[in-house]
């Protein structure tokens, strides 16, 4: 890449290099360096890295960092304070009959009987009842939660009116 020096340029460079080669420090520069050495010989101590001056860009960067940190701190404070205020405001505005349960849900009635182990298990509604039968009201919400709403003894009239063939009755909550 660097072998593209034009021959005439190379010649000019060589001539200029020779001119530069004849350059020698002036007496003034020699004297200044000598004075520097003489002046420092008395004062010079084993050098050690002294405290550096604070540079302007470093000061600006430090101020910017402080400003950003302050902004973040204030933002965090506001962020923490806001939800509490919102919740308090919302709580005041809630109606008295407000329920936390979602409105979009399905209630199922499942027939169940006590097993010999003493637990309540779902049974086939068409099967003959061997013991006391109960209706278990299960509510399935659209947010995925399932809860047992209530368990009531099944009465003979209700048993015949079970609704769905599988014994599951859908109800609006």
């Amino acid at each position: 890449m660097t072998d593209t020096l034009h021959p005439q340029v190379a010649s000019l460079l060589a001539r200029y290099r020779a001119d530069l080669g004849d350059t020698t420090p002036s007496d003034t520069l020699d004297a200044r360096i000598a004075a520097l050495v003489a002046g420092e010989r008395e004062e010079i101590r084993p050098a050690r890295p002294g405290p550096r001056r604070l540079r302007p860009w470093a000061a600006a960067a430090a101020m910017a960092a402080v400003a950003i940190a302050t902004g973040i701190y204030i933002g965090m404070r506001l962020e923490r304070a806001a939800p509490r205020a919102n919740l308090a405001r919302q709580a005041d505005a809630l109606p008295t009959d407000f329920s936390l349960w979602p409105t979009d849900s399905v209630a199922l009635q499942i027939p169940a009987e006590y097993s010999p182990q003493g637990t309540l298990v779902a049974v086939d509604p068409s099967a003959r009842s061997t013991g006391k039968r109960y209706w278990v009201d299960v509510v399935v919400s659209n947010d995925g939660t399932v809860r047992i709403d209530r368990v009531v003894p099944a009465e003979p009239a209700n048993k015949n009116n079970a609704g769905a063939p599988d014994g599951i009755t859908l109800q609006a909550p």
Partner: protein
Amino acid sequence: MKKNCEDSERMARLAAGDAHALHELYEKHGRALLRFSSAMCRSRQAAEDLVHDTFVALLRGPLLFDPAQGSVFAYLCGVLRHRVSRHFRQQRRWVELDGHDAQADHRADPADEIARSETSAVFRRALLELPLPHREVIALCDLEELPYHTVATILACPIGTVRSRLHRARALLTLRLASLELVDLVEEPPLMQLS
């Protein structure tokens, strides 16, 4: 290697408080530094001032030199290079009041003290018109004839960057010299590839 050891020893002495070591370093490297500075600066006086500043900086902070990073000469060239760069930044703050006077000063340029012939003087002016990064790579590689790895140490960049910058600097210089009719581009096929 022996020279480097001697220089390192002088730096150690300087760090220990022996100011005479500074004079020895000046005796050894002052002339080369002045050549580099003169190639970079228009004014001979400014070139000498910058060399002086370089040695002042060396005297104030000899512990800043790290032998693992390169030779003492490379370190001094690096310091001088920063001084030159700062010098030109400060120069930019000043505005010439009269363009005519500036032209007159240009003709009576103290730089011509360095160039002994009119051709060299024109060449020097063309070199001084190059951007600083290109000028310094020409000064170090072509005028001081330093090896690429030393130049890379001085410029604090990879060798590949030195090569590519030198290539670009030479091309710019050649075009500038051609515009001054010091170089005839038509007769030389290699430079046709540059355009």
